[in-house]
Symmetry: C2
Subunit: 376 residues, 2 copies
Amino acid sequence: MQVTVRGRRRHYRTVTFDAKANVVELIEQRLLPHEFTFFRAENFRETALAIRDMIVRGAPAIAATAAYGMAQGAQAFRGRDSKKFARHINLVFEALKNARPTAVDPVNAMLQVRAAMKSGETVEEQQAIALAAAEHFANEDVEHCAAIGRHGAKLIKNGTRVLTHCNAGWLATVDIGTATAPIYEAQKRGRKFHVFCDETRPRCQGASLTAWELAQQGVSHQVIADNAAGHLMQRGEIDLVIVGSDRTLGRTGEVANKIGTYTKAVLAKRHGIPFYVAIPLSTIDWNLKRGFDIPIEERADHEVLGAWGVVDNPSTKNSKAKVGKRAYVRIANSTSTARNPGFDVTPAELVTGIITPVGIFKPDELWKRRMELIGM
Amino acid sequence: MQVTVRGRRRHYRTVTFDAKANVVELIEQRLLPHEFTFFRAENFRETALAIRDMIVRGAPAIAATAAYGMAQGAQAFRGRDSKKFARHINLVFEALKNARPTAVDPVNAMLQVRAAMKSGETVEEQQAIALAAAEHFANEDVEHCAAIGRHGAKLIKNGTRVLTHCNAGWLATVDIGTATAPIYEAQKRGRKFHVFCDETRPRCQGASLTAWELAQQGVSHQVIADNAAGHLMQRGEIDLVIVGSDRTLGRTGEVANKIGTYTKAVLAKRHGIPFYVAIPLSTIDWNLKRGFDIPIEERADHEVLGAWGVVDNPSTKNSKAKVGKRAYVRIANSTSTARNPGFDVTPAELVTGIITPVGIFKPDELWKRRMELIGM
């Protein structure tokens, strides 16, 4: 998507590969929205670290990063010994896999690259195939997001007030995003609408990443506390909810997504507001039989007990720290602990539709159409 | 309630009056939970400033502060001229009233003090009556909270997991609190239970004030993001919700309280979890006919776009600001704005019961019992 840097608009993907320099280039997401910079991973180990340290986050984005990491690792190999090369590729695979051990998308992406490499005979051929496969993976991700945008855009009309949760935006994918894709497509079609971004505590990806994305694209938006959506719905100020998903169960239509998604779905149901989930097909889990069995990661206490930002000085109180410095502030009582579930599961009955690259489906349609959807 | 200061347990009220020195003494709430200190308002103008600057907050607490401010203002008058004294008292009244112009409780408290003063003939008599009336008002608040605790304590059994929202605690009253009163009473009765404190964005009174209070009283508790309660309810980890209220409509049983309360009520209803509201009788509005007409204050953007705390250094990222300094950090994208409604209204159908100093009532019982309740 477009970003304004020193007054000039330029197009940036979240993840790109500089094949000549053999460098994976990533938007440094830990510094957003306060600084827009890039991280250049010079070798596959640095690429793995970038995934581990969340310089890049979002399942599709880390999947593409891992795919490029494979190509990068392959390219770096010197020599013609196929056996040594195969051992080296295993090493690269493991390093990238271990960067986020619970994520499935990077592993699937790397398996695709590795499967493609099998058709090459020489080391050189395999290296070239790895690069092409990684590029193909990234481009396909962009195409899928664009298709989600085309299908979802019809939900956003002139005057529609959309609620989003967390960041399923272009920063979570290679480009365009999933939940944001219909928004950007509607914007492209010239529609005038408004987006409320849940700030999405505890990590605040809505306030930081989604709000930044929307601002860069000139989409009318406001940040709200997660507590405010219920009130806005009650007052008739929200017409549509679109969220992303980390895992959607193909058998039941249940949707696992960032903590707080379930709450918004319950509220939307009560107020008769359509609740849509935008997903790439890769996030559909065709095996698991019930949402209750999706493991819910319990994250660190400090995420809930404080917040990250940049020291600023609103008029109301005197800030004693130096303005402009990045800082974590503890908000909570220092002797208190936290519960911090990272995700929740929304039952299918609360989901109006699932926006995929091949169309919008009712949650219970996924299983009926599985042959078609798995084949994609 | 008890606070440990330098290893010693002592009892502190939120608001007290040092009649000898003619000083209103307040727990300095803007520094909590990071520092426990007192603000000594040396004259009625300083007391008004303390209310305005939110050194003291919570309707019952600022009501008692205003009552003491009246006594303080009266005591400061030198001379025997009743007319001059009456003019001075009007000045005191206006100064304290204008400190938080939209709050009704301080005005009602001061009207009580002024009404009592009418029975005095000399200036000296009126000064003495003002002091006695203010003390009476504060002590009555404590008694009412204690009564809420006795009625509400039966809801909390061994093993009960309670959810609270915001701070309707001892810091919001003279002592004991409203929503916290049943918790402290159950604790006193030796019951073992657990409290989840919603952090309550954007001002985080749950994470800071309620968590601090519960920690000081040794009540088992954890802070959660406002987003997490739905998930915990879904997994059967919450048995009871108790919140406070800024205004409860006597005619309809609708409850206005801190933003996010409505969301918790909707979730509780879905999961069949009892949802109680603890209130002093002074917060019942017998006039307003529908909750929709309760004015909802839109507060400053910066509350949502950032957070207040003390710079700390969790292991995950490097904080560049100096550890230990109080700071406001901007979390959100700097070019984004916010919507920040401060309160929401929960309909009566979602409220299991209203815990008052005279018993627990269904929301629709309030109006039927109005003669009895107004008479209190």
